[in-house]
């Protein structure tokens, strides 16, 4: 740590965010490596260090002798102020070296509201914001993560994006950069070659033209770049690289435990859920691999909890064998197993009992909507009986607090759908009081969290408008007055935040100016209520002459060229249109193991999809 930093650290909150030196962090001799990679998470340390992807890729790069990967997080505003006052540029935690000393700077883009943090971090590093103004080959600025499925709003700031899964393409990219750095190539020469790698998108090699009405006329590839960019997927999760240790933060982070991914993709096809389509096809990891890797990670970290992560944990075909395998060693070692993302329809008591044999965590379910019709529209294949049955089992199992997630503003939603949310929550309360063997001496609490629906690319709702701000406000109010139960608490997501999400999720390249303007006027950490400045954002749209409603609240036709049409995430547009039409008729689609819906994602995985393969088992 240098002296300048030492002097400001005592003055900021949680200085351990900025010191590095955590257990299992990797320090190398910078003179012995060819490529230095600064892996940036554009949010706070506590959020970034809870993210599994950054940990996997960190270890993966550091497993190479010729490269050193370090971590960078967005400094909290109190630290940023001190850094700027003292002329300390943004630095990486392991070496303390400024970002400008690195060959590659990679941002993982997890959500739309971190775009201003990306700009702020580039600026704190003393680098030009726009890719075109960074003329040297290095530092190369790259981006990955789910939001690069439509990178257009921030495409002007980055040199390239990596749509899809990073385990293989990261190494290929480092190899290529190493080669071109040795050759002394120009950035343009390098980018033309990089664009040939499957799973790399170089925005500067695509020209975008617009129609008079502001919609996209065409996206044209040039200099040999592919017309459509295919995302990368890893075919076999059992053999893909997995770290044998994880950095253990000094301070408490959001998910302070071993997180382990049990499968990728989702069989459900809920029509609002971007992740459910983006991460297809289904690929499962074997119970043996998961158990072995978890035990190793518990050994090297000292954590006392393993969280089995996926989009819908109960859809893992070998959940029971997996739990049996895990419990063999987790019980003697007093390790807790957390199983988030359980579905309402196959919540099983025996399974829960297995989990509670160690320790108990909270229960959250996501019915998403209050009426069957609405749940059918969004293809959330869950019935009211299942919700009640699940609640009953949970209460019988000793839980007295249940959290329910809902969305407001879904396509075709009516007032009745909204009022029924409160009624549904009330019926869950009734289930508790009708139970002869309910936990004695305790009340029940049903917490409903209602967020605002955000239409996202690569979902059947990508053509749908988001409900207007006034409309959302009215439905929030309606839900509030519909709730007559003191046992039911209803909370809402900040709707302005959802509005901006809707703008940027389906935005085009013209929005880069808006992001820049908002950032210059003080926007950052937009995902944090205490830092979110909605008026400044609205002013930025006005200054740039763009209407946010054009992006958020407009219905698109199936024939409109969408800003992300040149990206191929496997699922075909025909499939999305089919699903969109079925939604309009409130028709459901069975999940992938019941019947393959022909989404097309298997094509990107050599024609394979585990949902189909395991069809025979069911």
């Amino acid at each position: 740590m240098n002296k300048k930093l030492e002097k400001i650290l005592p003055l900021v909150q949680k200085p351990a965010r900025y010191t590095g030196g955590e257990l299992n962090s990797v320090v190398k001799d910078k003179n012995s490596v060819d490529i230095r990679y600064a892996f940036c998470f554009p949010d706070s340390y506590e959020i970034g260090m809870s993210h599994l992807g950054i940990k996997i890729l960190y270890s993966l790069v550091n497993a190479r002798a010729d490269a050193w990967c370090e971590r960078v997080f967005a400094p909290w505003p109190d630290m940023e102020k001190r850094m700027r006052e003292n002329g300390i540029p943004l630095f990486a935690l392991e070496s303390g070296d400024p970002l400008s000393a690195f060959d590659m700077i990679g941002f993982t883009v997890q959500y739309e509201l971190c775009y201003t943090n990306i700009l702020n971090m580039l600026d704190l590093a003393g680098l030009p914001l726009y890719a075109k103004d960074r003329t040297a080959l290095t530092p190369l600025v790259v981006a990955g993560g789910p939001s690069v499925c439509n990178a257009e709003p921030f495409a002007d700031f980055v040199d390239l994006c990596m749509p899809g899964e990073g385990e293989e393409v990261t190494n290929e990219l480092i190899d290529l950069l190493k080669e071109h750095k040795k050759k002394g190539s120009t950035k343009a020469e390098f980018l033309r070659e990089a664009a040939k790698i499957e799973g790399i998108y170089v925005p500067s090699l695509y020209d975008v033209t617009y129609n008079a009405d502001g919609t996209v006329r065409a996206v044209t590839a040039k200099d040999g770049a592919p017309t459509t960019v295919k995302k990368r997927v890893v075919r076999d999760l059992d053999s893909v690289y997995y770290p044998d240790n994880l950095i253990v933060p000094f301070i408490e982070v959001v998910h302070d435990r071993v997180t382990h991914e049990i499968f990728r993709g989702c069989i459900r096809g809920c029509r609002f859920c971007q992740a459910g389509f983006l991460y297809r096809p289904i690929r499962e990891k074997s119970p043996e691999t998961i158990s072995r890797q978890c035990e190793q990670l518990i050994k090297t970290t000292g954590y006392d909890e393993v969280s089995l992560s996926s989009l819908s944990s109960s859809d893992y075909t070998q959940l029971e064998p997996l739990l049996d395998k895990l419990l063999e060693w987790t019980i003697p070692q007093k390790v807790n197993i957390a199983l988030p993302s359980l579905r309402v329809d196959n919540f099983r008591k025996d399974l829960i009992e297995k989990l509670t044999s160690v320790r108990r965590s909270g229960l959250t379910f996501a019915p998403e909507a209050g009426t069957q019709r609405m749940r059918d529209v969004i293809n959330k294949n869950v019935t009211e009986e299942e919700i009640m049955e699940t609640s009953r089992k949970a209460f019988e199992g000793g839980w007295t607090a249940v959290k329910l997630y809902f969305m407001l503003g879904l396509p075709t939603e009516t007032d009745e759908d909204v009022m029924e949310i409160a009624a549904l929550a009330r019926r869950v309360v009734d289930v508790f009081y009708n139970l002869p063997e309910r936990p004695k001496g305790k009340g029940v609490s049903v917490n409903c969290s209602a967020s605002t629906f955000v239409p996202k690319p690569f979902t059947p709702f990508q053509w749908e408008p988001q409900l207007s701000q006034e409309g959302i406000a009215a439905r929030q109010e309606l839900l509030k007055v519909s709730n007559k139960s003191k046992k039911v608490q209803i909370s809402f997501h900040e709707m302005h935040v959802s509005f901006l999400e809707a703008v940027f999720a389906r935005g085009d390249r013209r929005l880069s100016k808006v992001i820049e303007t908002a950032w210059r006027n003080g926007c950052k950490f937009d995902g944090w209520d205490e830092h979110f400045k909605f008026e400044v954002w609205m002013q930025a749209f006005e200054e740039c002459g763009l209407a946010p409603e054009f992006y958020a609240n407009r219905t698109r036709s199936y024939t409109e060229v969408l800003p992300w049409d040149h990206m191929d995430y496997g699922v075909s547009k025909q499939f999305l249109i089919r699903e969109s039409e079925k939604a309009k008729q409130a028709k459901t689609t069975p999940h992938c193991r019941q019947q393959c819906a022909g989404c097309g994602a298997d094509k990107i995985n050599g024609g394979e999809c585990d949902a189909r393969r395991q069809n025979l088992v069911f």
Binding site: M1, E6, K7, L9, P10, P15, A16, T19, G20, G21, E22, L23, V248, F250, I251, E252, D256, K299, T300, T301, G302, Y303, D304, Q333, K334, R359
Partner: protein, 219 residues
């Protein structure tokens, strides 16, 4: 089942680990070292790990006690070796002993504070301490509410020395560290800053050891 006292030092980045986070850090280290911990019975079994004297953020320590309750046969020397093999940088186990003193027997802390000689001269510090009437505001509960109270630092200083070493000024000071009154080196420095008129930031501050009321080492 028996209690052991683990004596550790911390320096570098680890000094910014708060008291609460130190607890989690040590719990995980003990798990990694595979030391047979004793767990409480009941619904939520947890180990018994207890820090005796909290250290403020940013203060290093040379010899700090921590008590854990263990089960089974394991020698103190082995506990020390196993822990040292899994400690993060900056954390070191100096010794593992029986817990001789009761936690409440700790009465004083001996500290070493290093300042930049460009910020203040040794003579100035000497004079400020000699002039007396050093005070500092401590947060405290006043009639059940959050508030502050003024602490007489001059009266609390047990002994001290100030000297110049190269381009640094080194203060060695013994301050109360008992349940009735605890003053940490940063509060001591703050009381000097208050008189000096500018805020002094230490290059380093370190607790050398804890002492009992009769000025023998806390053991």
């Amino acid at each position: 089942m028996r209690d052991v006292r683990i004596w550790f030092s911390k320096s570098g980045a680890v000094k910014y680990v708060s008291h609460l986070d130190m607890f989690r850090l040590m719990t995980r280290a003990v798990r990694r070292a595979d030391i047979p911990l004793w767990y409480t019975e009941g619904y939520n079994p947890h180990p018994y790990i207890s820090f005796l004297q909290p250290l403020p953020l940013g203060v290093e320590t040379c010899y700090e006690p921590l008590d854990i309750r263990i089960e089974g046969e394991i020698k103190n020397e082995e506990i020390k070796d196993r822990l040292n093999a899994v400690m993060p940088d900056g954390m070191h186990i100096v010794a593992v002993t029986q817990a001789f003193c009761k936690p409440a027997e700790a009465a004083y802390g001996e500290y070493k504070i290093v300042l930049d000689a460009q910020d203040i001269a040794a003579d100035d510090i000497e004079k400020i301490i000699q002039d007396g009437a050093l005070t500092v505001e401590k947060s405290a509960k006043v009639k059940g509410r959050k508030g502050t109270k003024t602490v007489d630092v001059s009266a609390a200083i047990h002994s001290y020395s100030v000297k110049t070493e190269g381009d640094t000024v080194v203060i060695e000071v013994t301050l109360p560290a008992s349940p009735e009154l605890t003053l940490n080196p940063l509060q001591f420095l703050e009381s000097i800053s208050n008189k000096y008129g500018t805020t002094l930031y230490p290059l380093s501050a370190c607790r050398i050891r804890l002492l009992c009321a009769d000025m023998t080492a806390f053991s």
